[in-house]
């Protein structure tokens, strides 16, 4: 037996638990999702019935689903805008600090919000939005703007913006750190020669820094779009898609269809469409945002 053959057998042995685990827990579910989208589950006798494209046809007349799409688009693009720009601004601010020591402290401070579980972050904002004693309404009271008070999360005219506004001013977290790692990788000669050419301050940011972090921008755009399409944590914890269906998103509709109504086939079909859209958007943005 050749040396490479021997080493191959050993490598396969080491990789076998990973490959077997991935086949079961990572490959099987999405592949099965492709199939169950064309079936519907019959509770009586735990059976699956082939229904062709019925599940997809049903989506076209599902008013809740149709109403949920604009909500998702608003939340996704709002989230993208915030998630791509604010961390970059924060990273630049820290990058412009001269003291290396302060820079390091700021980077550690950026991580502080991560020590609180995400669910807690949402629930604290639930309290900030509390109509009676929440921070926002209390502040409005204090400055004499009572007429602007709202039950932010249970008023259909404010709920989407309230969900977007959560986490304001969005300055901490790993986003700025990822941008900073890009900025700190810019060779000093590049920055020095830009300075000689008169590119300092905002001019340098636009002409030197942004082109050097397009890889990171692409990362945030792609992950933000995929995340925006499939996230429904806020609905699950805070709004339940309400009031009415004013904060419903397709992902949460899928969840409810599956786990409240046991429409597993129909829910899989929604999942399949969301997957296709996410996949398409990924390909498109990979193609259109150029990075080195």
């Amino acid at each position: 037996m050749s040396r490479k053959m021997r080493e191959s057998l050993q490598a396969y042995f080491f990789l076998s638990p990973i490959v077997i685990g991935l086949l079961i827990f990572a490959y099987y579910p999405p592949l099965r999702g492709l199939i169950t989208a064309f079936f519907e589950w019959i509770p009586a006798g735990d059976q699956w019935k082939f229904v062709g494209f019925d599940n997809f046809a049903r989506m076209l007349t599902d008013e809740v689903l149709i109403a949920s799409v604009p909500n998702m688009i608003l939340l996704m693009f709002g989230g993208l805008l915030i998630g791509v720009t604010v961390p970059f601004i924060m990273a630049e601010l820290i990058f412009f600090v001269r003291s290396e020591k302060l820079k390091y402290y700021y980077r550690v401070m950026l991580l502080l919000p991560l020590v609180v579980p995400g669910v807690v972050g949402m629930l604290v904002w639930n309290f900030i939005y509390d109509p009676n004693i929440g921070l926002i309404n209390s502040l409005l009271d204090a400055v004499g703007l009572e007429q602007l008070k709202h039950a932010w999360l249970s008023d259909s005219s404010t709920v989407l913006f309230a969900l977007l506004f959560m986490g304001f001013p969005w300055a901490a977290g790993i986003g700025p750190l990822i941008y900073l790692s890009g900025l700190m990788n810019i060779p000093t000669e590049v920055i020095d020669s830009a300075r000689l050419d008169g590119a300092t301050g905002l001019k340098r940011v636009l002409q030197v820094d942004i082109p050097m972090v397009t890889g990171q921008i692409k990362f945030f755009v792609v992950t933000g779009m995929i995340g925006g399409l499939q996230q429904f944590g806020q609905q699950l914890v805070l709004t339940g898609g309400g009031p009415g269906y004013s904060s419903m998103v397709p992902g949460y509709h899928m969840y409810v269809q599956a786990f409240t109504y046991n429409h597993f086939g129909y829910a899989s079909a929604i999942g399949l469409v969301l997957f296709a859209v996410a996949f398409g958007l990924t390909i498109v943005s990979m193609k259109f945002i150029k990075s080195e």
Binding site: K4, S8, A11, F14, L15, V19, L22, A26, P30, R32, G33, T36, M90, L93, F96, V97, L102, V108, L111, L112, P113, L114, V115, V116, P117, G118, V119, V120, G121, L123, V124, W125, F127, N132, G167, F168, A171, A172, G173, L177, I178, L180, S181, M184, N185, G215, Q216, F219, Q230, L236, G251, M254, A258, F264, G271, F275, A278, F279, T282, S291
Partner: protein
């Protein structure tokens, strides 16, 4: 004049950064101020610290989330040990061993990064049901352990490839086999990358809500996210009477492990994030 102008702008810059950080962190400090207040103090002072501090809220909150706390700790520990072991072994194999179909198997693994989770969510539930793991913490452990290598191998293969070959040569001459090279050399020199991955695993478990909400049904099996959501829901509707200090005490309890984790490992995490180059 010029120098002091520069100094003034640096001062303004730092002040602005501190303000932004403070505003981002303030919601958490409300928790810290709030969880030690009794209900009377709370009525008059919701936003600032107050004395005396009452720790009875912690007792009450612990009764609500204590079991879930231990459950989550178990899942996080098992998912981290298993996930980091598989990822590092996989990363070692791909960076240091020569074998047939290496590229194909590598892409077979990392292609999964491109598959949005939503497609698999419902069949995942069906799978867990068929494996008889409904309402079992092992459902979460297995999913997390085998989810780790998808990104983990990608991260660690890069890191292991950058280890100088001489380190391995010397050990090979001493007759070390591949597995020994892995745990005697590759692992000890990459602790910071492993720590990054470990933090990601713990955070993933600690923040996971959707998965547990599907497969865990009885409160004695709940993980922390579910217990917090339930506790908060059972309290809400109280309006003015909502016992927020008790809720906040539960939030504080749920954060303690993450606080400890970051206290000991944030340095590695920052290094890992910086060197792994999160970009596309």
């Amino acid at each position: 004049m010029r120098l002091s102008g520069k100094r003034a702008s640096q001062l303004a810059l730092n002040a602005f950064i501190v303000l932004l950080l403070a505003m981002s962190i303030y919601p958490m400090t409300i928790l810290l101020f709030g969880f030690t207040k009794d209900s009377l103090t709370w009525q008059y002072n919701q936003w600032l610290p107050a004395l005396p501090m009452w720790f009875t809220n912690l007792n009450y909150a612990w009764k609500q989330v204590g079991t879930a706390f231990w459950n989550t700790l178990f899942v996080a520990a098992a998912a981290t040990l298993g996930g980091v072991f598989l990822s590092s072994l996989g990363g070692f194999v791909f960076s240091r061993m020569k074998f047939y179909a290496k590229e194909i198997i590598f892409y077979f693994i990392i292609a999964l990064m491109m598959v949005p989770a939503i497609l698999g969510l419902i069949p995942w539930y069906l799978l867990i049901k068929e494996l008889g793991l409904l309402n079992s913490l092992w459902a979460l452990v297995f999913t997390s352990v085998f989810g780790a290598p998808i990104f983990g191998i990608f991260l660690l293969r890069g890191f292991f490839s950058s280890i100088p070959e001489e380190l391995f040569e010397a050990a090979k001459i001493d007759g070390c086999g591949n597995f020994k090279l892995y745990y005697k050399i590759a692992v000890p020199v990459s602790l910071s990358s492993l720590a990054t991955l470990a933090i990601m695993q713990v955070m993933g478990v600690w923040n996971d809500l959707v998965g547990p909400s599907i497969v865990l049904t009885s409160p004695d099996k709940f993980v922390i996210t579910l217990a917090l959501r339930n506790f908060s829901m059972s309290m809400s509707g109280g309006g003015m009477l909502t016992n927020y200090p008790a809720l906040f005490a539960a939030y504080v309890i749920s954060s303690i492990p993450l606080v400890l984790l970051f206290f000991f490992a944030s340095k590695y995490y920052i290094e890992g994030l910086t060197s792994s180059g999160m970009k596309l």
